[in-house]
């Protein structure tokens, strides 16, 4: 899909902060508010904009700390559907937060979130490994998140160190 300069600019803006009002985006892009709304609607309808999630540091919320594992999965692809069928079987589980088809030593990279180590381990052994075409799994638990989707979780650089007024 070929986008116009304005559409691309709006994507850049939303990727950085999708909570800006259309009024502000209109000013930033020198477009009318109606035009901005129209562009956003079009991009949503075409699934160029898929969703607007927030990045949340759950480790800060008492009682909501979760366990995340990244799992390398080897599978046997099926004739005609390749990896898509098994990927779909995996991504339908709500515990699974991402599934990517990878080049290299394994096939699917699967991210699983759970309330505890046990919960994730149970999911891997009882749900994931038991899928027919899954040959093997290697589970890596995330110990700490430093940067997620381009956002530094807790950086030293967020502080403005500039003087209040300068020439």
């Amino acid at each position: 899909m070929k986008l116009t300069k304005e559409e691309l600019e709006i994507l850049y803006i939303l990727e950085e902060n999708h909570r800006l009002s259309t009024g502000v985006i209109a000013k930033q892009t020198q477009l009318s508010e109606e035009k901005v709304e129209e562009i956003i609607k079009k991009l949503e309808e075409n699934k160029v904009i898929v969703s607007y999630p927030a990045i949340i540091d759950w480790s800060k919320v008492e009682g909501q700390e979760n366990v995340i594992a990244m799992i390398e999965v080897n599978v046997t692809p099926k004739r005609g559907v390749g990896f898509d069928e098994v990927a779909e079987r995996i991504y339908r589980f709500p515990e699974v937060s991402s599934v990517y088809l990878m080049s290299g030593a394994f096939d699917l990279s699967v991210t699983v979130e759970g309330k505890s180590l046990k919960e994730v381990a149970t999911f891997v052994s009882e749900k994931l490994s038991t899928i027919d075409s899954v040959v093997s799994t290697r589970t890596h638990f995330i110990l700490k998140k430093y940067k997620h989707d381009g956002v530094i979780i807790e950086g030293k650089e967020n502080k403005d160190r500039r003087m209040v007024v300068s020439p």
Binding site: I13, V24, K27, Q28, T29, R162, M163, V164, V165, P167
Partner: protein
């Protein structure tokens, strides 16, 4: 008690303090201030540049470099000026790496000015220009521009200011504090006057990468201008490297060699390890510069629309990260406006007269701050204007 003032030179004693200084002292002591008074990027230097510099320290690059800077860096600067602005400077004898563009300006004035020779300064202008001319023994001659001309100088204004002692004209595009961008036509007009009257043109192109609507044209690339142009640029604004104090000057060989003598006696060379960071900036920094440009352009559009909407008329500046709205409809002076706005609403802006007399009636707002801060600043300024009972007529935005 000895009066220590007696030890001061006449020049130092008479040098006026920067108009910004006073304001800084007040603002710095207040809390919860939203500052639109900052004359530098809100980005931190891209990591690859910092990383390269750290590595150069680890590897022991702690000695002096050649006086004009590392040849490798001068080569990169030369390539950049050729590729970006189509001007050719020999890295071996036409470029000096300096301590910020400020030192480059100092070198330029010292190299060309005889006592009493005049330099035309297009105002409103960066606060250092007149002082640098004075310190070099010259005489600064202010040429004030007008908002209705988009703060661009006209050839007539330049000719009116000429005297037999006029040696040079200093231009800065995009401009601090007005953000005014001079396109090829504007530069050509200035060039014609310079050629006609045999003037040197010193062009401060520090904001060249922060240009939002038109392609940048460098003065030295215009016909007949190369020999009489001193090109000054640096890393501060384009690469968010203000604190590094790294700039450069490029000019015909005879001028550079004169500047080099002054440079070697006064500063020896720019810091070695930082020059390695600058090489990385020129080699691999393009994408990050473009990303910053996009971000500034958005914020410029936002603040221009918003200020006009709340009744502070301002033109759309073609570059830098400043807008220069008129506050004449408030009946206050620039100084009063800035002081009251700071006290009542805790928004710091710089009074326009800090940049020369022609800046009176305007304020400089820097939009090198986050969108959240800008939005809040607009709310506060709007409230401030309402408290002054200013008739807030929505001003049509000129494009």
């Amino acid at each position: 008690m000895i009066d220590v003032n007696q030890f001061l030179s006449k020049t130092a004693a008479e040098l006026p303090p920067s108009g910004i200084r006073k304001f800084f002292d007040v603002a710095a002591q207040m809390e919860n201030v939203i500052s639109l008074g900052v004359g530098e990027p809100d980005f931190i230097t891209p990591w690859s540049i910092r990383d390269e510099t750290i590595a150069s320290i680890e590897e022991g690059y702690t000695s002096y470099t050649a006086n004009p800077g590392l040849l490798e860096l001068r080569q990169e600067i030369s390539n950049y000026l050729k590729n970006r602005f189509n001007i050719e400077y020999d890295p071996k004898n036409q470029i000096i790496v300096t301590i910020g563009a400020s030192q480059a300006l100092d070198l330029a004035f010292r190299a060309i000015l005889n006592p009493g020779e005049e330099v035309l300064i297009i105002e409103p202008a960066f606060v250092s220009y007149p002082a640098l001319v004075t310190l070099a023994g010259g005489k600064p001659v202010q040429v004030g521009t007008k908002a209705e001309n988009g703060f661009k100088v006209t050839p007539e204004q330049i000719e009116e200011a000429l005297t037999p002692n006029t040696k040079a004209i200093l231009i800065c595009s995009p401009n601090n504090p007005t953000g005014t961008f001079l396109n090829k036509d504007d530069l050509t007009k200035i060039a014609e006057v310079a050629i006609k009257h045999n003037l040197v043109v010193i062009t401060d192109e520090i904001y060249a990468e922060l240009t939002y609507d038109e392609d940048y044209v460098s003065m030295a690339s215009l016909p007949g201008m190369y020999e009489r142009t001193i090109t000054i640029n640096g890393f501060s604004k384009a690469f968010a490297m203000t604190g590094w104090r790294l700039g450069y000057v490029a000019a015909p060989e005879a001028l550079i060699q004169a500047m080099l003598k002054i440079h070697q006696y006064t500063t020896m060379c720019a810091p070695h390890m930082l020059q390695h960071g600058a090489i990385e900036a020129l080699r691999n920094g393009k994408d990050q510069v473009e990303e910053m440009q996009r971000s500034y352009r958005r914020r410029r559009n936002y603040i221009v629309s918003s200020l006009n909407e709340i009744g502070l008329e301002c033109h759309t500046p073609g570059g830098a990260f400043y807008v220069f709205p008129s506050i004449k409809n408030t009946g206050l002076t620039s100084q009063e406006f800035a002081e009251q706005l700071l006290k009542k609403e805790r928004v710091a802006v710089v009074p326009g007269n800090a940049f020369g007399e022609s800046g009176e009636g305007y304020i400089r707002c820097s939009y090198a701050t986050s969108m959240e801060q800008l939005q809040e600043a607009i709310i506060r300024i709007d409230r401030f204007l309402k408290s002054l009972n200013v008739k807030q007529e929505q001003v049509a935005i000129e494009k």
